[in-house]
Symmetry: C2
């Protein structure tokens, strides 16, 4: 196999990052584009555009379920395609990166304000996996004087639930932590549940695996479950199912192999809208029928369009 080129090397930390939420990964990807834009070897418009296209492909391949990465790449490529000179490409792309970063931060702030009213005072609430949007919403509510405790679970195999627990605890929120299969013991004591998400399409939201079983358990117990996400995570349905390709090494689950045992390590599952009480976005709480109009407005750069499967 060929040695991966420099862009691929730069993408490796994003590929290995199983602990960050989608919005956080979007922010990390911005810094990769910033260094691509200033790389001295991209000394012609064609070379720079090629480099941006390759970086986009590598980033999306590294984290196919993370919609902010896809949209960031799409935004950069659409910006570059409208520019001709080297300076113009750099200028347009930097503008696109800044604007994308602002969107991510503004969305998180707007969502945090909406979540305040969804947290019942004095109660225990549940939060799943790690999402920077969920963390900022809960810390914002706590800072504004709402008292509540949070129950969370590990989110095997990468245990990003522990990161959630630590962030909330260091922000002064009391946390009860257990393992994922013990969800059924702690949920009956919870009044509401919150999760982030990585990707949204018309069939539902894609998030860390375990979200589906959480959603089914919440419905069984009559606990409202909210997914928190900026609308920048909405994608076309074909893109939504890209997450299914994302199989991680079996050794992350069980570093022991026996003949006859196949170990699966898939990171994401899909929660259909009928299992969610609402999708809390910077545009308010959206329901299933609202998603379609966002999808219809999406403009996708030619190099990022998925080829239909041929039979």
């Amino acid at each position: 196999m060929d040695k991966p080129d420099k862009n691929y090397d730069a993408v490796q930390p994003i590929r290995d990052d199983l602990m960050s939420g989608a919005a956080e990964l979007g922010l990390r990807a911005i810094t990769i584009f910033q260094s691509v834009l200033s790389a001295p070897e991209s000394d012609s418009p064609a070379k720079l555009k090629e480099s941006l296209t390759k970086t986009s492909a590598a980033l999306i391949e590294a984290q196919p379920a993370m919609a902010p990465i896809f949209h960031l790449c799409n935004t950069v490529l659409l910006a570059s395609s409208k520019a001709s000179s080297l300076d113009e490409i750099r200028q347009e792309c930097h503008k696109a990166l800044d604007s994308f970063e602002k969107t991510l931060c503004d969305s998180a702030a707007a969502i945090a304000d909406e979540v305040f009213d969804l947290i019942p005072p004095g109660e225990l609430i549940f939060a799943y996996s790690f999402s920077s949007t969920v963390v900022s919403a809960l810390l914002n509510a706590r800072a504004k004087g709402r008292y509540f405790r949070v129950a969370c679970t590990e989110a095997r195999p990468s245990m990003e639930g522990r990161k959630l627990a630590s962030r909330l605890a260091s922000g002064g929120i009391e946390v009860i932590h257990t393992f994922d299969n013990a969800m059924g013991l702690i949920l009956p004591n919870c009044s509401a549940a919150f999760m982030g998400c990585d990707c949204i399409g018309s069939p539902g939201v894609v998030n860390k695996v375990g979200s589906w079983v959480l959603a089914v358990a919440c419905r069984e117990l009559g606990i409202p479950l909210y997914a928190l996400s900026g609308t920048e995570k909405i994608v076309n349905d074909d893109r939504l199912f890209e997450f299914e390709k994302h199989e991680r090494p079996a050794e992350e689950v069980w570093d022991f192999t026996t003949k006859g045992i196949r170990v699966l390590n898939h990171q994401f599952d899909l929660v259909p809208f009928n299992l969610l009480s609402g999708l809390v976005t910077e545009q308010g709480i959206l329901k299933e029928p609202d998603i379609e109009k966002y999808i219809s407005k999406l403009e996708v750069h030619e190099s990022l369009k998925l080829q239909p499967a041929t039979f």
Copy 2:
């Protein structure tokens, strides 16, 4: 604190055994009683009876959710209470131990025969946690020429699902293994699900934590879920809820403590009968109304009766 006496030391391996199913632990407890019965220091009927009573209390305290241990102790104490001389006590107790061991083995064999018809040929089935009854039923079906594959998950935190996977694989059954929160990804491909259980009462069956969420997921997907267990696991309702006292050390879940994070490590949950397709016993497939008549026939030794809570 006083140094634990010899009986308590002998019980420690049972307390530390998080990998064995209830029937298996029952067999292990038989060997503890065998050594208590032959201990030279029990040189009077009173001393031997006291020693049997203390051993019973220690065994039940070590594994409060495991009905076969309770019933074994109860059987031994009832046998000893009918005997007067040292020889007579030993003889009656050995008879009780032999008969209990035979019951456990006969139950497992009868259940295995019934399970054969519940395994759809050529399909993928799901099995949860570790249960010697489930393992023997699946290996028996395979040995009789039924072909099927088994999906299973880890059963955090003690990972006895890995023991299940290894036992099945070494018996020639192809296994697909993943982590507990990924249940929702593998279950839609399964045609039936099986679990063991530790304890049965009129509200439902107690088993390794995660069984409840499995049951809710199975109902959501229309997958029949069977609990496999001998009727020797049926207990009174007060005894059933003893499992709730069984909290294990937090360090088994997360060996890191931060101010503000409380780590819970409960091992069992309860699956109500309405979430089960059936309880497969050596007496056939039982439903909720059948349990009551077994409970009404239970005779409990005076020293094992639970005191009602006082307020």
